[in-house]
Every structure is written in C-alpha cells, then in structure tokens.
Amino acid sequence: MAASLATGWSDAVRARRERASAQVAMRQQWETQGDKNPHSAAHYSIFAFRPRPPLSFVDAGIDPYVGIAVWLEAHKQNDFRYRPARDSTAASRFGEATAVFVLQILLPLVLIAFVAPVVTGEREAGTYLLLLATGIGPRQMMTGKMLGVSLALALLVAPAAVAGGLVLVSAFGINADLLERAALMALGYTAYLAIFVGLGLIVSSLSRSSRIALATLLVFWVANSVVPRIMSDLASRRYPLPSSAEMVNAMNAQMREGVDGHDPENARTDELRASLLAQYGVTDERQLPVNFDGISLQAGEEYGSAIFDRFYGELWTQIRRQNRLRLTGAVVSPLAAIQPWSLALAGMDWMHQERFAAAAETYRRRLVKTMNEELSYRSQAAPYEAVQRGREFWLAMPDFTYTPPPLSDVLHEVRGAALMLAGWLAAIAIGCVLAAGQIGRVFKW
C-alpha cells in the first residue's frame, strides 16, 4: 500500500508539474507569437492540458486512456491527443502499481483469506462449544468477529491512510474541498471493504468447512473483479460509439454544405456577402466598412459550432449511457460501484473529462471569435497578410483557466454508485443477522 501510494504520488506530482509548466509555456508562446493576422493567430492558438487533480495519486483512473492535451484551433473541435497508454508497453495492460489496485483487488483478497475461516475455524478447532459455554450468543459472536476483523483491517490500512493524508496536507495545505473529497473517498473504500468483511462472515457462518467458505468467497472475488470488464464490453455493444473517421467524415459532409470560411465560391458565402452588401448599401466587398473575410470566417465558425455541438453532444450522451449501464453490474459486483465513486472523487472520471473538454471548447470559441471580430470590425477590406496584430493584442486575450466541478456536482454524478454501495451494506447487515441465526443449524454436532 505504501509503495503503491508512493508510486502514485510520484507520478501525479510529476504530471502536475509538467502540466503546469506546459500551460505557462503555452501562454508565453501565445504572447510572443509575433505579428500576424488575427485569423492566423486563431490557427496558432494554444493547447489546453488536462489537469491532474491532487487525489489522482490514489486513483489515476482514466488518465492513461485520454489524451493529455487538446489543440484549440480555428474551425475544428479537436479530440484530445497523446494518450499515455500509447507511450506504455503491452505489460501496462496487466495493471499499474496503484493504490486503487491494492484497495479494490488486493485487500479484498487478503480479507477473504482472513475472514473465511473465522466461524468455520471455531468448529473445526472444536472451540465453538466452548465459546457458547461462556454465555456468548451467535449474534454477539458475529459482532465480536466483525469488530475483531475490522480492527485488524484498520491496523493494516490506517498507517497508509494517515501517511496519504499527511502527504496531501503537506502538499496542498488544509484545503476544505480536498479534505472533504479525500474523506468521502475513504468512506467509500471503508464501505467497500466492510462489504467483504460482512460477506466473509456470512459465508463463513453458513459453510460447513473453511475450505467451502474460502472457495465460495474466492469465486465471488473473481466475479467481482471480472464483472466491470464484462459490463464495459456489454455497454460498448449496447451503445456503440462512432469511429473517429466516421465522425470526422460525417461532420465534414455537413460542414461542406455550409459556410466554411475558406471557400469564396460557396453558396452560403455568396448569400452572406449579398446580405452584407445590401445591409450597408454598397455593391462591392471592398466598399464595406467591415472586413468580409473576418465576418465570413466567424459565420463559418458558428455554423461549425452547431455541428460540433450536435456530434459531440451525441457522442458524450452515448458515453454517459455506457457508464450508466456499466453501473448496473454493481448489483453483483461491489467493484462496479466503488470504481465510479473513487474515479469521481479523484477527479479522474468521465464527468471531469467532459467538463474539461467543454471548458476548453468554450475558450476555443471565445478566442477564435475575438480574433475574427478583430479582423471583421477593426480592419477594412485588405489583403490577408496586410492585417497584422502584435503582442499587445495577444496580451489582451485572457488566459485559459479551468475550475473543476464542485463537490456537489460530483456527488450528484455518483449518487447511483452511492446507492449501490448502501444497498450492498444494507443487504450485508441483514445477511449477517440472518446468518447468525443459522450458525447453530449449520453446525450439527
């Protein structure tokens, strides 16, 4: 646990430092790009780098599978590029040495090994009758076993949790929002591990031997680990996504039908020109008090934005549907519930990615519009290269900033996962009560 936290921390800190430095460098490059036409500047633009929130050191989530940066250039809503997974070897698909692997996979296995014989072991060792002779009832015994196992688990996990908390506080100070997210993440994992403790006790109580109890729990552990994978495949097939080529070609086909800003013979461009000439009562583009190229480019942007909104809207809706379907796997696998909970609180889930992509796209449209308007309204008809702007103008464009979604939005997003975890806990609690009543019947001596 300590090793995985240290590895995760080192990766996250390095990634945060690199991103911060790259974002600063982007701004410097923007400001010092030299004199050029504002539309050329809109093409040059900037890259927005996907953030790495502090808690990503516990759960790096989708980080390897989403590009690290997006180019905010004119005319296009680009996809994110440079997936870290492409800079990894095939061995990385077997898993990463992260804290979530320990928490989600390894600790449940340790717990199973630990809990499976706690009740059956008493019988096999012949101590069950002795226990009853002391006046302890089955429910008291179950409670005691649960407390004992929980205490042992706490002793195992607490040092790493405390170390993780100290590292967080030392790096980011006493940040209420961060501490709340960390506490909620810890709460989720406590519930997840409690499910294994409770289930282990139930199975141990109802099994005739430690061997059967262990085998049953191991089958559950394997199923728990595999179900998210099965659900991912099911979700992909139930709600298929378009291929990149399919989406690009479909968007291009729609763009061709509209004003693209670079095609002076385009019918829509002609229509726009005619309407502008009529508006200003002139007969030639060169007589316009505005720059037609700039206005045409912005019209193309707005037409394109509507197309992007439609296509990306559909794509993102489909991904959200996949994520919702995947969560239904939590009915049989607590892992399918803790995974979205952990990803969301670490800020490494799809919702955070979608919000960041939307913020970057909003900034792109603002930047391009600012450039096009400078061309449209502050420079009359002139050859493209004759319209030049410099550092002062670039400085006036605000920098790209991004605020991650508030905790309330995160909690709203993971309400389904929380319900699933709560459902499991409730079922386990009922199961424990019922199983306690069955202990005597299972042990026929």
Binding site: E18, A22, A25, Q29, Q33, G34, F47, G61, I62, P64, Y65, G67, I68, F80, R81, Y82, R83, A85, R86, D87, S88, T89, A90, A91, R93, F94, G95, E96, A97, F101, L106, L109, A113, P117, S210, R211, L214, A215, L218, W221, P228, R229, M231, S232, D233, A235, R237, P240, S243, S244, A245, N249, Q322, N323, R326, P340, D349, W350, Y384, E385
Partner: protein, 477 residues
Amino acid sequence: MLFDRRRLSLEWRLWRREPMPWLLAALFIVAAAYAVANGLAWTAARQRAIVLADAENQRQFAELRTGAAALAHSGRTPRPFDVPASPGLVALFSPRYAALAPAPLTVLSIGESDVMPSYFRVTSERRDSFMDAEEIDNPVNLLNGHLDLAFVVVTLLPLLALVVAHTIVSVDRENGSLRLILAQAVSLRTHVAHRLAVRGLLLLGLVCAAVGAGVLASGAAPDARLVAGIGAVSLAATASIVAWLAVGAVISTRGPSSAANAVGVMVIWLVATNVIPTAINLIARWRYPVPPRMSLIERTRALDSEVRLHVVELLDAYYDAHPGEKPSGLNTAQYNFPLYWTAIQAEVDRRMAPILEEYDTALARQQSFVTRWAWLSPALVMQELMNDAAGTGVVRFQQFIAQVSAFHAEHRRFFEPRTFRLAFLAADDYDRMPRFAFQEEPVAALMRRLGVDLLAMMGWAVAALAFARRVLDRPTL
C-alpha cells in the same frame, strides 16, 4: 507408456461424479462464448470503420478526379485555389487513409488494437500531426479492459487449472486416504499425474474448442499465418495448463491444508498475472523514460514558429537546388498559401525527425525490455504470444506505423515537386497518386517470435513439472 489408459478412464469416471468438472466446463464455455462474441464484434467494428473510411476516401478522390477532368475539359486555365487542380491543397485537405485491416485471428485477442489506431489520415502536414490522432472510445471501458479469448486463456485458464489442482493431494491427506494410496503399488507421482492428466485434458479440450469456434465463426481463410497462429496458441495453452496444474499439485502436496492452499494459489496467480508484469513495466518505464509529450508540443510549436520566419529563405534554397523547377515570374516573398504551407511542413518535419526519434527510441527500448523479461511471467508471455498470433501485438502496430511513415514520405514526394512547380493536377495524376497497402511481415518472422514465446511457455511447463516431480516423490504425510 507414461500414462495407463485404464487409470485415466478410472480417474475420469471418479471425477465426473463430482460437480467440479461440470461447473468448470460450464463456466469456461460461458466465458469463452462471451469472449468469442466480443472478439467477433470488435473485429467487425474495426473492419466497418476501415470500410467506411475507405469508401468515403474513394468517393472524395473520385469527385476530385472528376473535377480535375471537368476543369481540363472546360479549357479554362486553373486558378491556384481550384482544389481539384491544386496539388498543395489536395495534399493538405484531402487526406489519404492508411489502414491496418484486422488480421484473421483478431477474434482471439483485442490486444493493443484498442489503444493503437487502425488507420491514419495522411496529409502533407508534418508526421506527428496525424500520427498522434486517437480512435474514439470510452476511456473507462479502456481502463477496465475487454473480456476476449486472450483474457480467458491468459487469466482465467490458470485460475481454473489451479482450482482443480490445489486439492489434488491435500484432500486425500485430510480425509486420511493418502496413506492408503501410498500403500498401493503405484507411486504418488503416477497417481497424481493421472489425476492431473484427466483435468488437463478437459481444460485443453475446452481451450481448443474455444479457439476453433472463434476461428470458424470469424470465417478466416486458412493460410500459413493462420495455421502458425492457431498452432502456437494451442501449444502454448497446453504448456500453460501443464505448468499451472503442476504448480497446483506442488502447493497441494506441501501446503498445510486445502483452505490455506486456496489462498496460496490465489496469491501465486495474482503475482504471475499482475504483480510481475506490473513490476516489469515499472522497471522498463524507470530505465527508459519516454520524455513528456507536453514538451514535444512546446518544441513543435517553437520550431513551427521559427520555420515560418524563414519560409522565403527555404523556398529560395529549394529553387537554388532545383533550378529547373522554379516557375517563371515567381516571387517567393509574395504570400502563397499552398507553397508556404508545403515548405513549412516539410522543414518542420525534417527538424522534428530527431526529436520524434527520442520518443520512438525510448518506447522501443521499453518494449524490448518487456519482451526480454516477459518469460518471468507466463501470463505476460502468453498475452504477447496471443497478441502476435492475432495480429494485435505491438510489433505489427510498429510495422504499421513505420509503413505509414514511409507512405507519408512517398505522398510528399508526389505532391511537393508539383506544388513547388506551381503545376496543376490533371485527372490522370489522380491515378498515379500513391496509395497505402499494408505489407504483412514474412510468416517466418512471425513464426520466429511465436517460437520464442512458445519456448518460454514450455520452459515454464518443464520447470514446474520437474519441481512437482521432486515434491511428489517426497510428499508430506
């Protein structure tokens, strides 16, 4: 003869009375059927994406060709921005798709094909601008991975082998029959070997049936590559089953109890299928770190800005080196978008080559390190073998990327001289344009790689068998 048929038959009759073989077979069949269906769906989706992209590409170029023919027929001199006639604009705005079709055995393993693109949109832009594009997918699905046949064979099969083997001796010891068995005129080793053989044959039969069903369902035409792939997967699966059954038998013989053995086999399984591959990957990343991609973006932009400042000098240098190609009356200082763009992209690409080389070299070293040490984990070797057999391994993607890079250079060689001469494209130029077709490596090269992985798997099987033999000769009573 190593095995006695009557003993094998007896062992099977004894085992089939237990629920275990039927449960195990049912579990495997369900998982394998789901995995085959997944592999088929994945292959079909990849194939569909490529067919759609190719159809659109052909439509676009047919339209351009018709446009160029119509322009020639009209007798009008083309203008620089007449797209069908402008080599610079066609090269930039009309990408050529370079696609890697799924291999016949892709149904067996999705492998790296979910993170590596199966096609690129090649234009006159610099190489990294289109080579780093990503395929659309839900990142959470990528994080979870797929349940394909490779997952069943690499991850679940060892688990099933361990499940059937981990009590093979301990149960007899616990119910008191081990001493009776040892009192027979047959060694424990022979007794266990027959028991394991029955279990192993069932597992092997299930694996072969699953692979056969996958191949038949995919409708792949038989050829040397297919036969080599199926043969390597079947033999490696056999070695894997032997190795894991032997490991299970060792634990069963030496372990304190069946319950403790169960935990022991789970730990060993986890170490082999997760901890060792993860450790190898971590060491590879630590030893051969790939420079941050953020700095690549910064460096590319800085280079691009610098080259733009010197575009006129670049063009002048080109025309000095190719004196016959300079159009009469051309003033290189006068802005000409296709000309400037082509010159800038070519120069940035040339200067980027050593920078990109740093990334490719680091990645190649990482992968080479992983391949060199993969034998430490049978799961890692088996996965690499299945990926290679299925055509979804790292090597095939590296070959694809190298061939696309070469195609990009060929694309450049076709369009650049025409752009610099300010020539116009005629309809028959469209017939001469380079097209991409992926060339598979020779079967012998594939078989060599499969052979190395197969040897590693067999090494594991032999080592595990030798260890099991030693342990079974001195059982704990």
